[in-house]
């Protein structure tokens, strides 16, 4: 079976079957599906617990119950004797000691706390000592809300999943170069476009399964799954690019890991870092396909941070990824002698 532009679907499927067999034999299939899901479960438990963590007050147990109850309104209270309060404050996490000196309440810090944190505690102490109410309050709860930290972590996990799908495919190429199996391919009818298509499609299928599952675990059904899958498909050239780049620059496993150490920050950390970059300088990152992937994922997971639309960003991921893929495929073809 042949489609226009001279790609043999049969040869592509045959290469994919090889990847699939290798992945199944080495338990990679199991790991690549289970690892992100385990991570998603862990993060789902950890991040909300961390976000809802409360201030910790290590309080002198000789203090009156009224004062202790008043302090409890602002955070968790742990009762110790005076020496215990000091050693609790000395511990690595952030806990403040509450002691009194001639009946006057004061907070005890280690000395390495940031100034804004100390000021926040001062305000609390003022409030504890305040007698009459100075204002009347009304609380309006507007519903569940979202946590930007959590959304960005979910987004980072999805980006990482897509990236690792490309990496696994890249390791197969390194293995073929290491064992010289690629020389056999170079004298076969397999063309570079078929080789890249096989690597990209294999990675896309893996990424689609894992990204959809990890997303479901992290954020539930609130994300439009079809859009997520569409983005994974639009990222196919990017995944093929990752795998070809690893294969292109790595002649053995040590160089593959070294290349990975460069590729990972460029792919994941750099786009994530752009949330700190002013809007007027964002254009500097437009040349990165993973920046556009990040933008499209922001539209799904953190819409309040979105700067471009989902479809525009998705298409830009495809176009920029495709352009780099053409260049990488050309270089790869010359390096390994594929047709």
């Amino acid at each position: 079976m042949t489609v226009p532009r001279g790609i043999s679907v049969r040869r592509v499927l045959s290469l994919m079957r090889q990847d699939f067999t290798t992945a199944l034999r080495d338990n990679i299939m199991v790991y690549i599906i289970i690892a992100p899901l385990l991570m998603a479960f862990a993060l789902r438990l950890l991040i909300p617990a961390a976000e809802s963590s409360r201030l910790v007050f290590a309080v002198d147990n000789s203090m009156s119950p009224d004062v202790v109850e008043k302090i409890r309104e602002y955070g968790d209270v742990e009762l110790y004797d005076r020496a215990g309060v000091i050693s609790r404050v000395e511990r690595l996490d952030a806990a403040v000691g509450v002691l009194s000196d001639t009946g006057r309440l004061y907070f005890l810090f280690e000395g390495n706390e940031p100034r804004p944190l100390i000021q926040a505690y001062q305000v609390i102490l003022e409030d504890i000592n305040r007698g009459d109410a100075v204002a009347d309050y009304d609380d309006v709860n507007l519903g569940p809300g979202r946590s930007i930290t959590y959304d960005l972590i979910a987004l980072g996990l999805i980006m990482g999943t897509v990236f690792f799908a490309g990496v696994i495919s890249g390791f197969n190429i390194v293995d073929e170069r290491d064992t010289r199996a690629i020389h056999a391919l170079s004298v076969s009818p397999v063309r570079i476009r078929e080789y890249a298509a096989a690597r990209g499609t294999f990675a896309t299928v893996l990424a689609a399964i894992v990204a959809a599952s990890a997303s479901r675990v992290m954020v539930g059904p609130s994300i439009d799954l079809l859009r997520l899958l569409a983005l994974v498909i639009l990222s196919a050239p990017l995944m093929a690019l990752v795998s070809l780049l690893i294969g292109l620059f790595s002649h053995n496993q040590i160089t593959a890991i070294a290349i990975l150490k460069i590729a990972m920050p460029v792919y994941v950390a750099l786009p994530l870092g752009t949330i700190y970059v002013p809007q007027k300088l964002q254009f500097l990152f437009y040349i990165l396909p993973s920046y556009w992937q990040f933008e499209a994922l922001k539209a799904l997971y953190a819409p309040s941070l979105m700067a471009h639309g989902f479809w525009f960003s998705g298409l830009m991921t495809f176009v920029t990824g495709g352009l780099y893929l053409l260049m990488a495929a050309n270089a790869f073809r010359r390096r390994v002698g594929l047709r």
């Binding site: 009347d136 519903g143 930007i148 040590i254 890991i257 290349i259």
Partner: protein, 352 residues
Amino acid sequence: MMRRFFGLFKQDLTLALRNTLMPVLIFLILVMAVMVRFVLPKEWKPVETYYFVDRTEDGLYEWLLRQSGIGAHQFLSDEGALRSAVGEKGNSIGVLFAGPTTHPEITIMHSERVSAQGLNILKATLNAIVERATEGTQINEGMEQPSNVKFLRPQARPVAPNLTSVPGLLAFEVLVLGFTFVAVFIFQERSEGTIRAYRVSPGGTGAYILSKTLVFIVLGTLYGCGLVLSTMGLSVNYGVLVPLTALGVGLYTLIGISVASFFKDLSEWFLPGVLLLMLNMMPVVSLLFPTFSPRWLTYIPSYPVTFALSEVLFPSGKPLLPLVGVLGGETVAAYVICVFLTERNLMKEGRS
């Protein structure tokens, strides 16, 4: 015996340097230096976005808040605008001042993610604002010279937020260098049959492990010093940083050898290895949320390491010895386990 050990060390070092490792490390130092120096923010910003509407008689609260540096875009025209702004951005909080200036009615709009304690802390802040407004003082007045707080040690110099990332980068990127690369070394040696040949040579398991560990101690320490030098310059006590980094790299290399002994190649190791690295990164949550440190998190080796590195880079007078003691204990335990696993999983191949 020493000559044999250094021969092995030289061989491992050559292998590490031959495979583009140094250019990669230099590139990574440059990337991290650019991120820390130019990309990460140099000032603290609150996680939440606050929006305000002041409907009091004289608009004193808006004036006071603007004086304290709150941006103009955070002041909205009416309650409807406030409600929709808070509704749209789930991590924001809206505050509406109404009624008399001296005893205002304050409405707080928030998502259900805000805890009761969080609301009480916000109310404490707003009470302080109201009190200062009625006294005719500025919002931050009285905060610079705290009288109701004491310190166990003299207050440390404030640290710019962008630099607080350096201990994290050291702990989660530099120290784990050996964890990843030693695995690849072992897989390469396994596939080439070098381990089998080594087992029948006079070199022992201890020399095999220590030679690799020393290679990554040298490379990791150079990598760590390069990172600190490029981000913080010479203002750091390198006399303490170097041995601490060396100890940390040694610990993770030993853990790396132990883990790698269970797998036969990189593909098989890769995802479980990455998962372990991510688990090792969990203490970063305690750095982001300083009040969050459940006991299980403190057992992860990177937890004491991160705080020890932080103390070296930003000295506050906290005693380092207990942290170094924990790290030293973990390293000794890791060595014993590593010898056992290397003997059992790697060297047995030579015997069969």
